[in-house]
């Protein structure tokens, strides 16, 4: 196996987003190709510079990435569709990164997009008897893990609500967020119960959306000044013994996993990047449900197990705190277009490191980390450096 730290450096030359929301009259290829055009413009590159495309989505179906590219221009480059649940976008990004690091291509585009389907969705993350038993309610799966977290750490439902309050406050500063109105602790605690102990405002909304990034080798960059380098990109799929209820697995009592997938993917990324959690100036954590952000920042190494609620309360994870988390409002404000989410998180870290985040700008960040989870399970960590 090649040592990634000895391979050539990879840069993000440009990023492209579309506003997160509900696109009633547009299809995934419409706004997916908008994200591609935005990323090309940002990179100051032409479509015919692109040598390969990795395109993530979950529910768009066969050849959906090809449909996006059809709206941009068919140049014969290889297009690979990537389905890796909610980490599809970050998995597409990782493949693009590896292709350039390995010197197979010099300029590659990664795209994530999703138009959330209406009506029944056939979930392949669960076995038929689990679906028939009603075990596929993701709010309830996170609620179960939240109950265990509360039991182990003494965290409260109010602590979970504080995650929503922080992220919605950040989302109010993000012109691309689906929800741009802050909420109060009382509003979260009075919202309707969805799956005890989680209420509606503890859960992220769905959304349609797309994000893209143009990656390249150093010699292909048009603007060194705005470029951001990829310090590490890791992906860890399931390990025996760790329960992740969002894809129907429970802990082994006899043989529990020594490390879970989040810690494994983070430790590997820190080792490759040569930095530790203490070096991260801005973080995008995975907040599909509010409590998940708390155990996520713990597993990523920003504090010890059970400490996140206290740090959150003290403002450590605020935009002006020591470790700002989910500066764009997170999934909680942005919404969750499954295949686009991972790349959306990456775009926010790039925007912050460039100093282009406007009202939600963190004070002069140099290094940032994005983490996405996915049913499967998957855990994907990407570290960027100015």
């Amino acid at each position: 196996m090649k040592n990634l730290s000895e391979m050539r450096e990879v840069y993000v030359a440009g990023i492209g987003l579309v506003p997160w929301g509900v696109y009633e009259n547009k299809e995934h290829y419409d706004f997916g190709s908008d994200a591609v055009f935005n990323a090309l413009k940002d990179a100051e590159m032409e479509w015919n510079n692109i040598q390969a495309a990795f395109i993530g989505s979950v529910y768009q179906g066969t050849g959906s990435g090809h449909q996006v590219i059809k709206e941009v221009g068919q140049t014969g480059i290889p297009i690979v569709n990537v389905e890796n649940a909610c980490s599809s976008g970050s998995s597409a990004f990782r493949l693009a990164y590896q292709m350039i690091a390995a010197e197979i291509y010099d300029i590659v585009i990664a795209v994530g997009m999703e138009k959330m389907p209406k009506g029944p969705i056939k979930s392949t993350a669960f076995r038929p008897w689990e679906l028939a038993s009603g075990f596929n309610v993701q709010m309830a799966n996170y609620a179960n893990e939240a109950v265990e977290y509360m039991h182990e750490t003494g965290a409260s439902v109010e602590d979970f609500a504080r995650v929503t309050v922080k992220n919605r406050k950040n989302g109010a500063l993000n012109p691309n967020a689906r929800f741009q109105k802050p909420v109060t602790l009382e509003e979260v605690m009075e919202s309707r119960m969805v799956a005890s102990p989680l209420r509606l405002f503890h859960c992220c909304p769905l959304a349609d959306g797309a994000a893209a990034a143009v990656l390249c080798s150093k010699n292909k960059l048009k603007s060194i000044k705005r470029s951001i380098s990829v310090a590490a990109s890791t992906l860890t799929s399931g390990v025996y013994g760790e329960g992740i209820m969002m894809c129907g697995t429970v802990n082994s009592l006899k043989f529990p996993a020594k490390s879970g997938i989040v810690k494994l993917s983070a430790d590997q990324a820190y080792e490759i990047a040569g930095y530790g959690p203490e070096d991260m100036d801005v973080v995008q954590a995975y907040d599909t449900m509010a409590p998940a952000e708390l155990w996520d920042v713990e597993k990523l190494g920003f504090c010890r197990e059970g400490e996140a609620p206290k740090f959150l309360k003290e403002g450590v994870f605020d935009i002006n705190g020591k470790t700002p988390v989910n500066t764009d409002g997170g999934l909680m404000s942005r919404g969750h277009p499954l295949g686009a989410t991972g790349l959306g998180q990456i775009c926010e870290i790039i925007t912050q490191l460039r100093g282009e985040a406007g009202k939600r700008q963190v004070n002069n960040p140099g290094i940032g980390l994005a983490h996405s989870m996915g049913a499967g399970p998957n855990s994907s960590v990407t570290i960027f450096k100015k």
Binding site: A132, S133, N136, N144, S252, L253
Partner: protein, 144 residues
């Protein structure tokens, strides 16, 4: 409580032992690895231990007693149309006495009484009536 009425059908065959088959007690059916001791539920289709990677699985019945590890009361209909039971309903994880955690539905007179570490036991209960008028039953765990 186990129904032996012929119009009752299990949610899935092979999940538990039936009294009508001459068993003294209803038990969940799993697999046990004779090499490493790991236990699986439901029973594995293939003779392959996904923990120690050996072909040493044997059919076993599980303890019908355990403690609640996690739970949630679901207040809305699950998406996808696969679930035909009542709403609200509760599901979560139970740690059985033999050392296996399983995901299960809960039965309770009042879901508010559910608590972590509460003692629960196996019941086979009505889940829903299917379109042909059959009573579909499934396994659940209920506070003792």
């Amino acid at each position: 409580m186990v129904s032996t009425d012929t119009t009752t059908i299990p949610l899935r065959e092979g999940f538990w032992t039936n009294l009508r088959d001459g068993n003294k007690q209803t038990r969940l059916i799993g697999s046990r690895c004779s090499s490493c001791g790991e236990i699986f539920f439901p029973k594995k289709e293939k003779n392959w231990c996904v923990h120690c990677n050996r072909s040493t699985l044997e059919e076993t019945t599980l303890s019908n007693k355990g403690k609640i590890a996690t739970y949630s009361v679901v207040m809305q209909q699950p998406g996808g149309g696969f679930y035909k039971g009542p709403v609200p309903y509760a599901y979560g994880c139970v740690d059985l006495e033999d050392g296996i955690r399983i995901e299960t539905l809960f039965s309770a007179d009042n879901f508010d009484q559910l608590e972590v570490e509460m003692d629960v036991e196996l019941v086979i209960e009505k889940f829903y009536d299917d379109e042909n008028g059959n009573e579909v039953v499934t396994f659940k765990f209920k506070p003792v």
